[in-house]
């Protein structure tokens, strides 16, 4: 996003956006990520969003909240968000801490996440009328 190696990459694939977090993010970086991703969802009228958090060694309350907020904003823009790559230790810690992803669906990894999106949205929005 800004100078230095990218902390996050957002790729467009068909009607989906794939956002991969590459390293631990602090709170301001998370907020910037949220803004960038939500902007792009609107811009590309994406139908599905995958957020790959496999590189996050900690998902604390703020990170979880941010991820949920992204999914909610995406939903308001007509896109389904799937969270992929939560590590076993991170998953354990999140539930011990008492935080979750709410209603945001999760999948093991990118591959599974893409499959889940394909199942959720049977017609890829190839037609011009991507919205209902």
């Amino acid at each position: 996003m800004n100078g230095g190696p990218a902390l996050v990459s957002i790729m467009r694939q068909g009607s989906n956006l794939i956002a991969s977090v590459h390293t631990a993010l602090d709170d301001s970086e998370l907020v910037r990520f949220e803004r960038d991703l939500v902007d792009q969802i609107g811009e590309f009228r994406s139908r599905g969003v995958i957020i790959d958090v496999a590189a996050l060694d900690v998902i604390d309350s703020f990170a979880a909240l941010t991820l949920r907020r992204i999914a909610e904003m995406a939903r308001l823009r007509g896109a389904v968000t799937v969270l992929v790559g939560i590590q076993p230790e991170v998953a354990f810690t999140m539930v011990r801490l008492g935080i979750g992803t709410g209603d945001v669906p999760t999948a093991l990894d990118l591959e599974e996440g893409l499959e889940m999106l394909a199942r959720t949205a049977p017609h890829p929005a190839s037609g011009a009328d991507g919205r209902r």
Partner: protein, 295 residues
């Protein structure tokens, strides 16, 4: 077989070898009688009680033949192979160390005695034959004992590993499906281990569905019930759905007491039903409606 090739001149070592081959020929010739005598001595000494007479007959025959073969070739590899083979066959039948050493020593004595009989007229030759026989026989006994103990330790280690695994088993039943049967009393430390194993199992086997069967766990207190709920949640965070089977009314009550919404947990009466549900989840394409929660 080798007793045909007799040559008049030999070195000292060659002499021993020559005597050994004579000896081997003798042991082969009287195989049936000597083996039976040995089996009898084993019975008298109350060794190998764990075996049936048929087993005993089969085992003694093969042990006898191999013994003679080792005497014949005299190679260390053959001996070690023999000892290992003996231990591997005999340990699963619950044979103790003293029994194995006992039967090998008995065989050594039975054969020695037959040599006394055969060469009793020629005392000098008897001495030479025994000089060749005894070190070889002792070496066999020694190697068998050491190898047996090694093998036993290996088996014990293996069993310990298996038991450790069994206490918290995560079983991949088929592609994408894991079963976690919880057996015995769960304390919170074991519950924690179980959760960790399940979560790394989900990643390792790329599981989509997990069946946790708690039929085998009679008692679940509130702490453990909490753990169970957290395990379900954590599995879901990794993208796996959890089905709980074998939930007793008492445990269900505990879950409700700590404030768990049972309608949000996928519970099925028995393991069979749970597996069917799992298959359905895996085979049947689950359509997730927007905003709905299907777990």
């Amino acid at each position: 077989m080798s007793d045909q090739q007799q040559e008049p001149e030999r070195t000292a070592a060659g002499e021993g070898e020559h005597l050994l081959s004579q000896l081997v020929a003798h042991l082969r010739e009287h195989r049936t009688r000597l083996r039976e005598e040995w089996a009898q001595r084993i019975q008298q000494a109350h060794l190998l009680n764990a075996m049936t007479p048929q087993e005993m007959s089969a085992e003694t025959t093969s042990v006898y033949d191999n013994y003679v073969e080792v005497l014949e070739t005299g190679s260390v590899e053959a001996l070690q192979h023999y000892a290992r083979d003996l231990s591997e066959r005999i340990i699963p039948r619950g044979v103790e160390t003293h029994e194995v050493v006992g039967i090998v020593l008995l065989l050594r004595d039975v054969l020695a005695r037959s040599l006394f009989e055969k060469y009793q007229r020629d005392f000098g030759l008897l001495n030479e034959v025994l000089d060749a026989y005894e070190p070889a026989a002792n070496r066999i006994a020694n190697t068998v004992a050491v190898s047996f103990v090694d093998e036993r330790e290996r088996v014990i280690r293996q069993q310990q590993d298996a038991i450790r695994e069994l206490s918290t088993p995560v079983l991949p039943v088929r592609e994408r499906l894991l079963i976690l049967p919880i057996i015995g009393v769960l304390d919170s430390e074991r519950a924690r281990q179980l959760t960790e194993q399940l979560l790394s199992g989900i990643r390792k086997h790329r599981a989509r569905v997990v069946v946790i069967d708690i039929t085998g766990s009679p008692d679940v207190d509130q702490t453990v019930a909490n753990h169970l709920v957290q395990t379900v949640d954590a599995s879901r965070l990794m993208g796996a759905s959890v089905i709980i089977t074998g939930l007793s009314p008492k445990i269900a009550q505990t879950l409700v007491t700590i404030g768990v919404d049972l309608s949000k947990m996928n519970t099925i009466g028995d393991l069979q039903g749970g597996l069917e549900e799992a298959e359905r989840l895996l085979g049947y394409t689950v359509t997730r409606k927007e905003g709905g929660t299907s777990s």
